[in-house]
């Protein structure tokens, strides 16, 4: 095994595992803040008990997210030291800004939210819930800024050559609002709302199926369903804008997403299929010229093909094609599921129609797979570049780190993450089975 492959597997594993948790926290934080707000407004204790209950699940998610996030902050230095030297002038500042503007806000007020209920009033407690959510969103902002710069670098110049080459910042705001930041941030945030709200919806669906905590679960399910429906529809819009941006800024990534080989040809909008990388063909069912229709209302618009660049400059086409179509398919399914929920609600049978409740229980898994698939599309589609068209992933490694060391750390992280996930899942399921606190008699 070579050090490049091992380092890529380790980065993919650590970031992929980490990326299970922050989207859940972001989405859950929104629903929890709304629930505390509804309690303040209506004085209905069901909302408060529900918020308290989901706050426990949030805390569990947050803890694993924080613990695995520490790795990310330092892994650029450990495994990708050449990358760190190359981009430090640009990439470090959003990471530091994330700490200063997001993590402190989030972690400080989470302390109040979790442990301070008796020390601060209900209004400050609600405000803490809002600030924790704001912190989680700001954290997404800065990390997406950093990641988008790797996709569509802007506001920099290159100084020096060879080992001494460095990307130097020339315009901070051009770096922050680089061409893809807006689209990628809105797409990531709405997917996070979907991930968190469907998890809450699923827990409520379980209680409704079991006819436990029915009043609480019914009220919470409606809040979660509203957030999930809005998020699912936003996914369509932000996904569309992201695809247009990719077509303008990363044409070879788009070609890989649709398995589009021939250069300067209209691009099919595929529903699914298989890529034959050896023979440079794609077998797929789709709408001829469909991508042009979506991008510019022009089915004969011509797109760059994979064959227009050397094989060494192409991303892994099969993987990008498949993950992209998994993401789109699941995204569409989630729109259908949330619309079904809204329809049942309008008929007054949201809380009792069991087949739909079972479908809701599957929805967080669909959202989670869609998010991971989308992330793989974005990051594998960027290959072979670590910074698009500037620095190759293979040139970005730490020069002093040996394959054996990475193999050791990869095994260590794998074992540790299996332990974390098992404990997280066990405690989460236990928490759900025990259910929310019963209504305490008024003192």
């Amino acid at each position: 095994m070579d050090v490049l492959l091992l380092s890529r597997i380790q980065f993919g594993l650590t970031v992929g595992f980490h990326f299970i948790y922050p989207p859940l926290s972001i989405g859950m934080s929104v629903v929890i803040a709304v629930l505390y707000g509804l309690y303040l407004k209506t004085k209905d204790e069901a909302y408060e008990r529900s918020a308290d209950f989901f706050l426990k699940l949030f805390a569990l998610t947050f803890a694993v997210g924080v613990a695995t996030g520490i790795v990310m902050e330092f892994e650029f230095g450990t495994n990708w030291a050449t990358y760190s030297r190359y981009v430090g002038d640009i990439f470090g500042s959003p990471l530091a800004a994330e700490g200063v503007f997001a993590f402190f806000l989030e972690s400080s007020f989470l302390g109040i939210l979790l442990f301070g209920r008796k020390k601060v009033g209900p209004k400050v407690h609600f405000l803490s819930a809002v600030l924790v959510s704001a912190g989680a969103h700001l954290s997404a902002l800065w990390i997406i800024v950093a990641n988008s710069w790797m996709q569509t670098p802007a506001g920099y110049r290159i100084e020096g050559t060879g080992l001494a080459a460095r990307a130097r910042i020339t315009d901070f705001w051009a770096m922050v609002f680089n061409p893809s930041t807006g689209e990628r941030l809105s797409h990531t945030l709405s997917s996070s709302w979907l991930a968190g709200s469907t998890l809450i919806l699923a827990v409520c669906a379980w209680y409704l199926i079991k006819r436990q905590h029915v009043a609480l679960a019914g009220k919470t399910a409606k809040v979660a369903l509203l957030v999930a429906s809005a998020a699912a529809l936003m996914q369509l819009g932000t996904g569309h804008l992201s695809a247009i941006k990719v077509s303008q800024t990363q044409p070879i990534k788009l070609a890989a997403m649709e398995g589009h080989w021939e250069d300067d040809q209209p691009m099919d909008l595929n529903f699914g299929g298989v890529v034959d990388e050896a023979n440079q063909r794609t077998f797929a069912i789709g709408i001829p010229g469909g991508v042009g229709m979506l991008v510019s209302m022009n089915p004969s618009q011509k797109f760059k093909g994979l064959k227009s660049v050397a094989p060494a400059d192409r991303p892994p086409v099969q993987a990008v094609f498949q993950t992209y179509h998994i993401m789109v398919g699941l995204g569409m399914a989630l729109i259908g599921i949330t619309l079904l929920g809204l329809f049942l609600w309008s008929r007054g049978i949201l809380e009792t129609f069991k087949p739909a409740l079972w479908v809701f229980m599957a929805s967080p898994l669909l959202a989670q797979v869609a998010i991971q698939a989308g992330w793989f599309t974005a990051e594998l589609g960027r290959q072979p570049w670590i910074v698009y068209n500037l620095l190759r992933t293979s040139d970005a490694l730490s020069k002093t780190v040996q394959a054996e060391a990475v193999l050791f750390s990869l095994i260590l992280f794998t074992l540790l993450y299996i332990l974390l996930f098992a404990s997280f899942a066990y405690l989460g399921v236990r928490k759900v089975l025990r259910g929310p606190e019963p209504i305490a008699p008024k003192a």
């Binding site: 613990a67 450990t78 990439f91 470090g92 993590f103 972690s107 301070g116 001494a164 002093t400 750390s409």
Partner: protein, 355 residues
Amino acid sequence: MPLTQTAQALAQSAAADPTALQLTWFLLVGLLLTLYAVLDGFDLGVGILHLFARTDEERRIFMNSIGPVWDGNEVYLLTGGGALFAAFPDVYATVFSGFYLALILVLVAFILRAVSLEFRSKEAFAWWRQAWDVAFHAGSLLAALLVGVALGNIARGIPLDANHEYAGSFLTLLNPYALLVGLVTVLLFAQQGALYLVMKTEGALQARMRKVATWANALFILLYAALTLGTLLVQGDMVQGYYVAPILWLVPLATLAAVLATPWLHQKGKEGAAFLASCLTVAGLMGLFGIGMFPNMVRSIPVENSLTIANASSSPLSQTVMLIIACIGMPLVLGYSAYIYWVFRGKVKVEKASY
């Protein structure tokens, strides 16, 4: 020949004096890491002492004494790491890739520590709680030890090549001086943690913590003497700054005063003051480290390959932008921290919502 050009360029920049902006960032990164050491120091210390708590109730008190604050404390490390990456990318890259295995172990230790706080009391089985108790203790101990060993190596000097890449191995890092600094760090944090627990506990547990703190105080004075002697023997360059700017003598004098005041205040029963004196010790030692390193950030063997404030810096524009971020952000951060310590002042009560 790009390689020799690189080496020449690096050698030239090594000779340059740091600019005011670069000095500011040296101080700011130092301040962030000092705040981190002071704040996470005592909660790592609580973890190091965790197995001194015998009953389940006592262990919950230990964990909940840092419950609302440990996460915020750790954010100083993340922010310090980000600031180091942004202001001195070559230090970030050289140290973390050079200390690869050690840093991976630190990360594993931090992960174990963080999740054991959240996981431990969520299940009642004795084996479950014991396992996470051990993980909490071991994670805290290993993190403190390895961070100390890393600092010891950075001060002593590590083999770097002309391109600032680490040229040693994992075993290079395990030299006696670095291990001594690691041990000092563990004892220092344990002392700070014990004094913090004296403030946060009551009754018989508090009486036991007083004894632990007394032992920690005594051991730390011995280790502090050994550290001072060891540093003078191994890295005499660390005292150069005091000849250039005699006012700097205030830092070692204040540190010594804090080291001696801690046990004295503790014996007089002044809990808060004794804890603050131990915090001042941590800050003072970080100050001594900074003065001793200046103008280097990572000492190299051979010395001409050292990473300095001037040659490891990012561009003036990057550091200016970061300075603006710091000026807006740091007052907010200090405000949050002050507010949360104010809300959770006083003795620990274990409740249903607690860890």
